[in-house]
Symmetry: C2
Subunit: 639 residues, 2 copies
Amino acid sequence: MRRVRINVMEGENLLETLRSAGYGIVSICGGRGLCGKCRVVVRSGMSSLTVPSTAENAILTEEELNSGYRLACQARSTKPSVLEIDIPPESLEVRMKLLASGLTPTLSLKPTVRKIFVKVKPPTIRDVESDLSRLEKVLESKGLRRLRIGYETLKALPEILRVDGWKVTVSIFRGREIVGVEAGDRTGECYGFAVDIGTTKISGYLVDLVRGEVAESVSCPNPQIRFGADIISRISYAMNGVEAMDELRRCVVDAINMIIEKACLKVGCSPGGIFDFAITGNTAMHHLFLGLPTRYLSLSPYPPVSGRGLELEASKLGLKGAPDSKAYLFPIVAGFVGGDAVADMIATRIYSDRRMSLLIDIGTNAEIILGNKDGLYACSCASGPAFEGAHIKHGMAAMDGAIEKIWIDTETLQVNYKVIGGVKPVGICGSAVVDGIAWMLRVGIIDSKGRMVKGSRMFRMKIEDGLPAMVVASKDEAGIDRDIVITQQDVREIQLAKAAVYTGISILMRRAQVRPTDVEKVYLAGAFGTFIDPESARDIGMLPEIPLARIRFVGNTAGAGARMALISSHTRELAERILSRVKYVELAADRDFQKIFVDALELPNRRRELFPTVTRIIDMNISRIRGDREPENRRREQT
Amino acid sequence: MRRVRINVMEGENLLETLRSAGYGIVSICGGRGLCGKCRVVVRSGMSSLTVPSTAENAILTEEELNSGYRLACQARSTKPSVLEIDIPPESLEVRMKLLASGLTPTLSLKPTVRKIFVKVKPPTIRDVESDLSRLEKVLESKGLRRLRIGYETLKALPEILRVDGWKVTVSIFRGREIVGVEAGDRTGECYGFAVDIGTTKISGYLVDLVRGEVAESVSCPNPQIRFGADIISRISYAMNGVEAMDELRRCVVDAINMIIEKACLKVGCSPGGIFDFAITGNTAMHHLFLGLPTRYLSLSPYPPVSGRGLELEASKLGLKGAPDSKAYLFPIVAGFVGGDAVADMIATRIYSDRRMSLLIDIGTNAEIILGNKDGLYACSCASGPAFEGAHIKHGMAAMDGAIEKIWIDTETLQVNYKVIGGVKPVGICGSAVVDGIAWMLRVGIIDSKGRMVKGSRMFRMKIEDGLPAMVVASKDEAGIDRDIVITQQDVREIQLAKAAVYTGISILMRRAQVRPTDVEKVYLAGAFGTFIDPESARDIGMLPEIPLARIRFVGNTAGAGARMALISSHTRELAERILSRVKYVELAADRDFQKIFVDALELPNRRRELFPTVTRIIDMNISRIRGDREPENRRREQT
């Protein structure tokens, strides 16, 4: 446990306050009281906090509540006070714990940038060496020889040396280049910024490089969305020419700079205190961010411009940091398997595990990796944005008002749902759509072709635009003035998306000569992967039949990998090594692709023998429902 | 001899045509037919050239003229034709011959940038590695491993690879970074650009890095002149703040880019074909060009910001070259002994000579170096711009209309002069002012204090603004509507300037424990140093009494050193080594500075014993003139 004292103002949220104070508290659900990962123990000052919320009472045990346990995201202060809090190790992101999965990659704290405080000898009339030579002499006495110096740092050097009587803090990149000089002793503060550029969302992490902790996490939508929700539309837009490319590049850079400022503001540091960046994202996001041409990513055989990791000057990329700060771009595997997949592998360590693992990072594109320490296969499939709620009639992101879970009572056939934020529902997020479809399948509302069964006597069925739809929340219950439904078209969208993912997994398994039962671990990563119900995913046939207990949710592993690349520079060498062991599989080049895909469009699959458990469950359910109902019907008919 | 064939248009000058064709012909006098360094032998086509000029007839022997020798700067074509010309080795700058002095530093051709032509394997559906990896594979097969790549080059890579069927020319900097990729085979063309940023003049040299030749030389005035002719005024201006600093920086960068364009236009290449820059200049010019603060250069103890050589990205400096081209900045010795002095040492090789040498680079500041292979002493003295014609009543730069030489007939006391360009005189350049003063001293018009002797019966004396002045060219002869004179004030200016130089030399000699007669070589460098008459310089006491035969004119050795740094990268390592062997002497810190300076203000010196030869010559002259005249006077008196 880590004991900390913090000052809170009235109304402050404990999670935010702790993060502002520089403690990287884990939270998977985004502070909604769902994941239970932000447990802290309040040692003194409990009386100035709100009483435990419904969420806390649901998640924490009686014993824990009595011992002072709270969910940091739920507790708020009722008056200004000083709190004494113990942070359990598992709530702290110090060691990059990926708590959703219990993964704990231990990292040595070895950032690329090291700060050193030195006293420089001032010049005299008998000793007129240059300012830089004087600084170099002190550094040489500490074993740091022949360092280069950043141009902007050099320009600022004379003034900074003289601010505080020739006492300065020097920031040194990889032991070979001076990337910053600050007046006085500033060794206690050194930041990096990790970014995962998703097609839909950009996640940023301000990382304290002295303590190896996440100081603040901030995210924002990817503003490129206005040029198209999917990658291909953005690549098409980029083909309009250099200006279009630059427009795409600049809007992402601006968004990143905005979240940098936001994070710094919260932590109370300046962007000038950031000396290192680590950036990951899929190949298209990588190219668009760097201003590399994406034209050839859309033309077979889709070669990327650059595969290996790049260390560039952050200023060239337009990033807001120290003027001579550096930026590391993750290596990428192929045209559609990007640095996010490399970061995923690093965070989950599947490259060093002897057990066969399957990693699925579901975003707008799904990246799939299968393998173990003896080798890895990777592919990408265009799952599309349906899982993220796009192209779904009432689809929306997982935010307040979104139905995040749907289940059907097999007794009453009542459709139940849970809404984020406890407000009236206004839409359905991707994971709930999958839930809904899985349940519709289980209770026989849709058949294996995905067709809504006509004449289904479910009272929640209706016809919209001439096609059947299932009402999840009626107009009366909803926060909008119409029924919230899952339509026949929504089912089709999900069928396409899940078939793409299943096909990818299936082809990788064949390449690796692995059967579903050989897979000992399944990692579901990405925002969607964190919320999805694994049973639903399996039942619709998105995943092959792997025992549910083997499935782990690992959250944003791409972001975790990026943070690791800041905290430990070894991670970057590791990334290159991993890359050399990944075999990229081009799905379109597989001669069975079409056949597997078409089979996978059915629910769970045209080849029912591949899904014995799911088939049995569905058959059992349906026959039971028919059994329950049919006698009643018969009874009615008899009356 | 190098045999070349060139096409000339009507009216074309042979020197310019040869240079445009890529042959670095030596010319010290700027194409004025004075130095005789641009000798070439016309083998065929003589009939389509102008007949030999007066200058040619004066410089070339009868035998040479008969053998087809011409001064390239004087010969012009009278009609379009093809010429066959032999260029004697000594007229060719190939080996950086500094012909004015007969110095021939032999250099191995080893530029920092090497071009290599490769064929890259295009991607296929079964081989989808990145464009960069494909390029790297070919380079690896040629032993070039783990190269970095410039960001702009990376961005352009995909398109360039596809222009000419995956055949490209790669430019590699120091065997470690790809700084350019061009479509097709471009190995025959690779340029560097050398710059000497003088306080008054910027000299640029487009260097062919494939052949190791100067392709074109261009110069322009330093536009910072509008902020002050001398260094101190510019430093003062820079103190107005960041914008003022930037204004000073930008105007020099613009000027350099202008001469780059000019040189490229003449040679017919594009600035994008320049991959390397080598830049030298005094410390203040170095700092102002880089945008380094100059504030502390004006405050004791005048430490520079950076001493060592810097290799930067040219684009950061705003230079027009290939987008990822590099720029090398010469190391500097101290606050007032800059990279130009280092370049001087490199070009003259005094660092490796066992003989004691003295090098004087006279610009607005004079930099003085004394020593041999066992060690070197350097200092700087504020000689001021008088030697360059500034602060002199009729002073002007050495251009058409400038009186460049003055001599007084000791028989008739007639003042004679020579004008550049053979036009009517409009002013006097620095070297001629020194001539004039030396002659005024020799014939007794001025005394050892520099006072113009009242009542001197010289018919060319007059009173201007209440002070005496010597008429050099009367209003009738001049191209302006008044007499061109050397005034009492002009004499004072030169006294100050020459005393500063003498004091510097004198203090260095004492430090090195060297007497004037120990100095076996004297190098006069810089534009002024090329035109000055060494006898005049010695007689006014600017130089100690060293036999005149030991004096060599070496022209712009700073520019030569910069060119050498392009042609051979060894030069840069050499520069650092030399730097470590130079002992900087701060003149102001010498306790005898004041005394030596005050003595040196007299002509040739208050301590006449230091100038026995000069004193004897002056005494002889004057007594002869008095002897000549006095009898006449007496005769007159008698009549």
